[in-house]
């Protein structure tokens, strides 16, 4: 029986993209704010929105959406969903603040204290990590669902979230690579636009390659772990690899979500493709995002289609 529809998949996906974009943006900011400002800004501009769209989807997946406010008047520490609802609420708030912070650098020109800014970034880092972990923990803590009940789901969805965030940033950068106002303040005098783009692309490709390598490992360990587990877990794997989810799994999860983006990232690094080739970047980012959605879709559905065999 399927209880959680594609709307929950979208919710987990949106949460992953937002958390990933925020993480990448703050990380790039820590490393070198001047050099990677395109990434920092774009990440900050993306972060609030996918998760909000996801929240709306979540509400409509409830059987009684008009009561959703009960989620935010209760806190239950035993319920990952309750903890997650709170983390996401705070994440939305901080991502909007972070959004404004970057916007003001571009447009508003307000003065903010350095300490305040650092505090916002630190909280943002913690909350985006929390959101990215939550999507996996929501599933992995259910002992009744053998396909979910493994810590590998958490790691896999975490890594995938950061990859999706990176892909979303990359996608936006492709759309407006040298836009002076949407992604970056106009280059300072003496600053070469091509140089800026090159730096940012190198960063994206390097991080992407490392993460996709990790995702490849996680996926392999996840599937081997399930294949060597209990009878019900093995039957869940059967549904995925050769049953009704197999097309989605092999073409969406494995090919579009993991293998092709990995090869593309390796290729880009290998050929030192740091000059801007928007189309290649655009297609691989789009593929990575589609793959990221399908990864979640397969996991969500496979977990629901199989139950622990009790007797």
């Amino acid at each position: 029986m399927i209880y959680w529809s594609y709307m929950i998949t979208f919710y987990l996906f949106g949460a992953g993209v937002s958390a990933g974009a925020m993480l990448v943006s703050i990380a790039a900011d820590f490393i070198d704010p001047a050099k990677y400002k395109k990434i920092v800004r774009t990440g900050a501009y993306i972060a609030p929105f996918p998760i909000m769209a996801g929240m709306i989807m979540l509400i409509f997946d409830l059987e009684r959406p008009w009561l959703f406010w009960l989620l935010l008047t209760t806190f239950k520490y035993t319920s990952i969903m309750s903890i997650g609802a709170w983390i996401i609420t705070f994440f939305c708030a901080i991502s909007i603040i972070y959004f404004m912070l970057n916007l003001q650098k571009d447009y508003l020109k307000l003065k903010t204290k350095a300490n305040t800014v650092n505090a916002i970034k630190a909280v943002g880092l913690i909350l985006s990590t929390g959101v990215a972990l939550y999507t996996g923990l929501l599933l992995s803590t259910l002992t009744a669902r053998p396909f979910w009940n493994t810590p590998m789901v958490v790691v896999l969805l975490f890594v995938s979230a950061v990859i999706d965030g990176l892909a979303a940033i990359s996608l936006v950068l492709c759309l407006r690579p040298d836009c002076p106002d949407c992604c970056i303040t106009a280059p300072k005098t003496g600053e070469n636009m091509n140089e800026v783009i090159k730096n940012n692309n190198t960063f994206i490709h390097t991080v992407d390659f490392i993460l996709l390598y990790l995702l490849l490992l996680c996926t392999a360990v996840f599937l081997i772990g399930i294949g060597k587990s209990t009878e019900s877990a093995v039957s869940a794997l059967g549904i995925v690899t050769s049953g009704r989810l197999s097309v989605l799994f092999w073409f969406g999860f494995v090919a579009a979500g993991v293998v092709i983006p990995f090869i593309a990232a390796a290729y880009k690094l290998y050929t030192k493709m740091s000059t801007h080739r928007p189309w290649l970047n655009f297609i691989s980012a789009l593929l990575a995002l589609t793959g990221g959605y399908i990864v979640r879709s397969v996991i969500i559905n496979a977990g629901q289609l199989t139950q622990a065999i009790l007797f």
Binding site: T74, T78, I80, M81, S82, A85, T143, L310
Partner: protein, 189 residues
């Protein structure tokens, strides 16, 4: 658990299901439907048919299934609003007014004991007929069973039939390794 200590305590309700006596007549399912005024597509208890062994030592059995009123209920711990809760008499209940229909509890229950109510959108399930218990009446399925498969009683009363049966080696709790600590004991043939 000694006798004087437990006297005056709240009950701790539990059930025994002796599958060796079950003939699969589904009277309990009908009684449950009737008692809880359920639509045809929703049910709180079911009877699973299982085949086991290898020819020629081959057999089948009926396994009545329902909410196990777990003492460590995953459905209660995952519920984000506190709609699902554990009562002090051991019954796992749902405050339907607080249920938002997130279905997390349905996915967390290893016994497939929970259902969405199509009409109102909340989740519902077996309540050990708590309304009947208040009037000192047995749950509908227990009273109906023609072959006496079901024994219902208070685990806090050491002299009750259920206490003795639950302590005996004959009974098992299904899904014990998931640490749900269920309140339904089975005798499996």
């Amino acid at each position: 658990m000694s006798a004087p200590e437990s006297l005056g305590k709240l009950p701790k309700w539990a059930m025994l299901i002796d599958t060796t006596k079950c003939v699969g007549c589904l009277a309990c399912v009908a009684a449950c439907h009737n008692q809880n005024e359920l639509p045809v597509t929703e049910y709180f208890n079911r009877v699973e048919e299982q085949e086991f062994g290898r020819f020629p030592n081959y057999n089948r059995r009926f396994l009545p299934m329902q909410c196990q009123h777990c003492d460590n209920p995953p459905c209660v711990s995952v519920c984000p609003t506190g709609a699902s809760y554990k009562r002090s008499d051991g019954i796992v209940a749902i405050d339907t007014r607080r249920c938002i229909g997130c279905k997390y509890c349905i996915l967390s229950c290893p016994y497939k004991a929970r259902m969405i109510n199509k009409e109102h959108g909340y989740v519902h399930k077996c309540s050990f007929c708590a309304v009947l218990l208040e009037n000192k009446t047995l749950p509908a399925c227990v009273g109906t069973c023609p072959t006496g498969v079901r024994v219902f009683g208070d685990l806090n009363d050491p002299n009750s039939e259920i206490s003795k049966l639950a302590a005996s080696k004959k009974t098992v709790q299904i899904g014990k390794d998931l640490n749900t600590k269920s309140s339904i004991y089975y005798i499996i043939g």
